[in-house]
């Protein structure tokens, strides 16, 4: 790895034009190279990003967040990335937290750094009640399916070293990719650490984010993935 590693932030986006500009502008202001993957949005995210120095990839049709992340990751690997950060478009993730997130990778202690909202009591309390219980259940389900047990499940804020990004291939197009990543980490014997992160649950992100019912879809996807791997 060079003295200053090439870090790319991959932002999957689907109909998030309302908040996308502010999310991406903050990343750009901190000097990060940003790749936005428009996953077949109908609200023209490219227009929302007009004038910002970012790369925009576009899926011709909506595939899902997992597919968008894989597309973005493949693109940044071709562009010479040393570290890839996955970052949500809805403004939930703290751009200022990226430097902390990538520290274990820079120190050579980990291949993957996963953000966790349950390592600090203050962060955990910010998580809405029902979501907190579902995430706790998600941790058990992820453990059951992958053998990897973390303190948080389905936190999209994560950093991957180039080696990890090359080894992890997401086949789950939807939100089940978050569990699939854990399986890939185990399969490829990658080193993973958790880093405390603060997730901002704004009114917008609560309204726009995953519905609780989606947990069932994720479970079905995981079962199908096990059946038809």
């Amino acid at each position: 790895m060079t003295a200053r590693p090439a870090l790319f932030v991959v932002v999957p986006v689907y109909n998030e034009a309302a908040v996308l500009r502010s999310t991406v502008a903050e990343l750009v202001s901190l000097g990060y190279k940003v790749v936005v993957v428009d996953d077949g949005s109908r609200d023209e995210p490219a227009r929302a990003l007009d004038g910002l120095p970012v790369t925009i990839l576009r899926h011709a049709v909506n595939l899902g967040q997992g597919a968008a992340l894989q597309t973005g990751t493949e693109f940044v690997l071709r562009s010479g990335a040393d570290i890839v950060v996955h970052f949500d478009a809805d403004g939930q993730h703290p751009a200022a937290g990226i430097s902390n997130l990538i520290e274990p990778i820079l120190r050579g202690e980990a291949d993957v750094a996963m953000g966790s909202r349950f390592l600090r009591p203050g962060d955990a309390q910010r998580t809405p009640g029902l979501r907190r219980h579902l995430l706790r259940a998600g941790i058990q389900v992820s453990w059951l399916f992958t053998g990897v047990r973390l303190t948080d499940a389905h936190n999209g804020f994560r950093a991957l070293s180039r080696r990890a990004a090359e080894m992890i291939h997401l086949r789950e197009n939807g939100f089940a990719h978050a569990t699939e990543i854990l399986g890939e980490i185990r399969r490829n014997r990658l080193r993973v650490v958790e880093v405390p992160v603060t997730i901002e649950y704004s009114r917008y992100s609560r309204r726009k984010g995953q519905s609780s019912w989606n947990s069932l879809n994720i479970l079905v996807d995981l079962i199908l993935e096990k059946l038809f791997r």
Partner: protein, 118 residues
């Protein structure tokens, strides 16, 4: 032959004709479908055979036996379809991904050439 037998055999023949004429399939699948067609036609024409088979299996009537067999049969067909769907979804994803990456690669070239991006 009673009318329902003629109707059922006609429907079976239509299904098999559609399968062989419209679907490209492996020889193994064609043999299985052909054998199932023959078996189904025999049981439609000779219902007593189905009843004897049902008695051997400990089921009252031949119709009941086929109903019970059809449940796991349909579940198996559903799983096959789901598997095929996931396979198609994977192929679709790869195509759309390659298209997105190609567009990103040629975008700088198009910008200088006067060709409009769509």
């Amino acid at each position: 032959m009673i009318p329902i037998q003629a109707i059922l055999v006609f429907i079976l023949m239509c299904c098999v004709w559609l399968y062989f004429a419209r679907l490209r399939s492996k020889l193994r699948d064609r043999v299985i479908v052909g054998a199932l067609f023959v078996a189904a036609t025999v049981f439609v024409m000779h219902p007593a055979m189905a009843n004897r088979l049902a008695a051997l299996a400990g089921v009252g009537r031949g119709a009941d036996l086929f109903f019970y067999i059809s449940i796991p049969g349909l579940a198996f067909a559903l799983l096959l379809l789901l598997s095929r769907m996931r396979d198609l979804e994977q192929r679709e994803t790869l195509l759309i991904r390659e298209l997105a990456l190609l567009r990103a690669e040629i975008a700088p070239l198009l910008r200088g050439s006067g060709v409009r991006e769509t």
